[in-house]
Symmetry: D2
Subunit: 286 residues, 4 copies
């Protein structure tokens, strides 16, 4: 095997860590329990080149230990809001590992609701919410930490006030212009806060509901137009948000041509498709 490369090889942008660490933490306050259900990924960047070039593991914290540490820190400090827990985990690793320059902690927070008990709730039984999930990413280096909050797989649709027309045409254009189409997407959004001391839980819920409300209200001329409007409302109404990135696949719902059957489609019958799909992305910041 090549240990002495005849060519000069440069090693850049290395990263190693543990992905898909599954942590469920139950908090018990009398008869009322709560669940935090997380999927955590850790990625280390730092001065680890000799582990690649020479197999020198003396500074390579095993990814198995990373996993154990996540469980231990949850037991010690409680896994609360994902942004906060990500900071605890990031700080732990940066303090302990001298060759570590930067550590990424990515968290997916799977939501559960208490099962209804008439007008009340069963305190110790839960039903999974979804398909959407809350997300967080915390990047920690020697100077401090920065947190990004987010939501993914938030599947939304509007059945009115969505048009797409006045676009350029060429010999390959077959799409009919429309003033009234279905608009459906699986929203992924991530945002950063101006102040790291924000109250992460309530703030997440505010941004999420603002995005949903803006989507519902918008007179859409395109996915791009609605994506921008959603980000714009967040930045204009929530001072604590510094920037926001949105990613909106266009899950096309195509009207069925019923005239072939001697029938009329009054904008009512659609086939839902996932492939192919449009994909629109943008970042808005102050």
């Amino acid at each position: 095997m090549p240990t002495n490369s005849p060519n000069k090889i440069t090693l850049s942008s290395t990263s190693y860590g543990k992905s898909r660490i599954r942590l469920v933490q139950v908090s018990r306050r009398g008869d009322r329990h709560d669940i935090r259900d997380l999927t955590v990924a850790i990625a280390f960047e730092g001065e680890y080149d000799t582990s690649y070039t020479e197999g020198d593991n003396r500074d390579v914290l095993p990814t198995d230990t990373m996993k154990n540490t996540v469980y231990a820190l949850a037991a010690r400090d409680r896994a609360g809001e994902p942004e906060a827990f990500g900071m605890i985990v990031g700080r732990h690793f940066i303090e302990r590992n001298p060759k570590l320059t930067r550590v990424h902690v990515d968290l997916i927070d799977h939501g559960w609701s208490h099962i209804a008990d008439g007008a009340r709730e069963h305190g110790q039984a839960f039903v999974r919410r979804g398909p959407e999930a809350r997300t967080a990413r915390v990047v920690t280096d020697r100077k401090g930490a920065s947190a990004t909050a987010g939501v993914t797989d938030l599947i939304i649709m509007k059945t009115s006030r969505s048009a797409f027309e006045a676009y350029p045409r060429d010999e390959f254009t077959t799409l009919p212009e429309t003033k009234d189409r279905l608009l459906a997407t699986a929203l992924t959004a991530t945002w950063t806060y101006t102040d790291p001391d924000v109250d992460f839980g309530p703030m997440f819920r505010t941004v999420r509901s603002t995005l949903l409300d803006a989507f519902a209200r918008h007179d859409s001329l395109s996915v791009q137009h609605t994506l921008y409007a959603m980000g714009d409302v967040v930045l204009n109404t929530i001072d604590q948000v510094e920037s926001i990135s949105l990613e909106m696949p266009n899950r096309h719902h195509l009207p069925i041509d019923l005239t072939r059957f001697g029938m009329e489609n009054r904008n009512e019958i659609f086939v839902a498709t996932e492939e192919p799909h449009g994909l629109i992305k943008a970042t808005l910041s102050r």
Copy 2:
């Protein structure tokens, strides 16, 4: 190719049809819209042997036509409750196709909720509920139709009153007995009604909430025990249900051994696993 088989070949249990037909129907009543979002599968059983043995297509309704028919019938009669729409579709095919003995219509009903507008709702904008889905199966033959209702991927967990102990031990036993474990599953349930004229929508919601409530209340000695209790409550409290089948994978949540880190796990920190999983099934009937 063998057209004259030297051996006598028997052809049994044939079936053909179209799967994963995606239908979204929008109902517009003024400013209030509603969505029915279905995945439909059609399967024909009948006297179609020569289509297999000789490629004789004269009685083979194309699966593409099956798909078109689903859209046309939705436009003509409206896709309402999935059981009812399945009966419309089944009856259409059985009346039109003389060689058809039995037709299966399987429906998955993907739920959407109106997006909240403060304390009210946006009438024309929706967010997907999930991961659970409502299901229905309608089997239609020359004598009539029978409907099965159901729910799938209803992911539930209880954090108290779940034990598993007093089981047989052998030299391969390593599982510790427990009086207090997490119990999590992705419930699939299907049930039949004594009377085909049941009000399918409200009845579905009653069975679903009865299952959830029974799961929450049960003092579980095993998954089998809780599965039975859930079915038993349904049959004892809802006269219209004739029989019910439940399928409950045991999604193990294993407590992390924190003593290795000099810490104690007060039944609080778990790893959620999907592989391997237990799988418990049963059918209860009157």
Copy 3:
């Protein structure tokens, strides 16, 4: 919770077990290693009603023990051909568990090939074959065991000699007749042997290659027609096969209408679709 049901409840068709047990066994013969990579599922049927109705676990072998047993039996007897290993596992459980009436062992055998070393092979390094997998199902009761062999996700396509025409038409027909279409499917086949003492490995490879060859050679008038031809060749050329079931989703490849762009599609450009798809099934036996 209901322990005394006011209605008489009948409990039927119960089953419990462990699914998705992942076993990799390495056999080392000098420098030449081999891998057996299995996903195993165990399902018990028997006199276990009181475990459901009363939570009586005294006869309930834990599914965790089932999993341990699979590993222990592989270590003791070696996991060879999946049908044979399924028989070892089934026999073990039926002999040990007096309330057990019937045990199902389902096995998926994930294929690996040795990595090429020029014209030879590296003896200890492997690349995964796929997406297809070999399957087996063994059902064991007090009288003995029966084995079913199979293959799944065997994705195949033919680009000639596939027609579909002369089918019935109605007002919902839009499919054009064709003498020359692409025919693609993801084959699932399962078959039984007349004699349980068959040499499972070579016989599996013979059936698999016979199915592929028959698919390639057939002048197809429909999926049904080709499915039958494939099963028919197996039964006519391989005496040891008693019956065979085939399941062939029709993965439609639709020709693109290039005339809209002033171009001609000489049966050359297709869109591959997965949704919706046809689904054709049949069982052939002697």
Copy 4:
């Protein structure tokens, strides 16, 4: 809706396009057919801000037209090697769309082999290879195009010469050191060429087999060590490769502790896991 933002909003890093365009092209040379089976994604970056801020679609080529264009260009110029076809597509769009600054074309090339016909091959029937796929990414701007080649989901395992030891320990370490473990990964690699006029097909096969051979031969001290060795051999033996990025999840295969059953595990019986997994990445360049 906010059209006049009170705050100054900056719009950065926008992108829009079409994903998951499925193209199958059949080439017919007499009795010998060939298939090119691609999934294509197009992403436009450019001066499209007013489409976001004002819904001005006058320069927004519809993503539906992008899809049509892919089919039309395949018909006109033939979809050959994915890197070459990506360049054709990119150039078409950059020449036609004045506001377009940069276009990304991502291609996944799904492999098919001819079905064996004894020692020969059926010319017109195919079986899918996988799970691995060949990939390409072409980025085209006003100055020209650059191509990245790659492979993904190449699942490989070695059953000898893989160790992991001499790593740092802390109070959360539980991993035992090992001189002889299974090493399994699902390799994703992408690489760039020094010269855009490389012969893409043969060169892809050379890089792929070089990676496999290096993986098989390496005396691994860690995943990092083997990843580097694989990239190093490519750069040292294939002059045309300028840089290479590798991504190797560590799919842990954990030895089963059989001592609990009074048995010994001679490094033979493993449980294959997918969650959690290590994840190692690096880029090597000259």
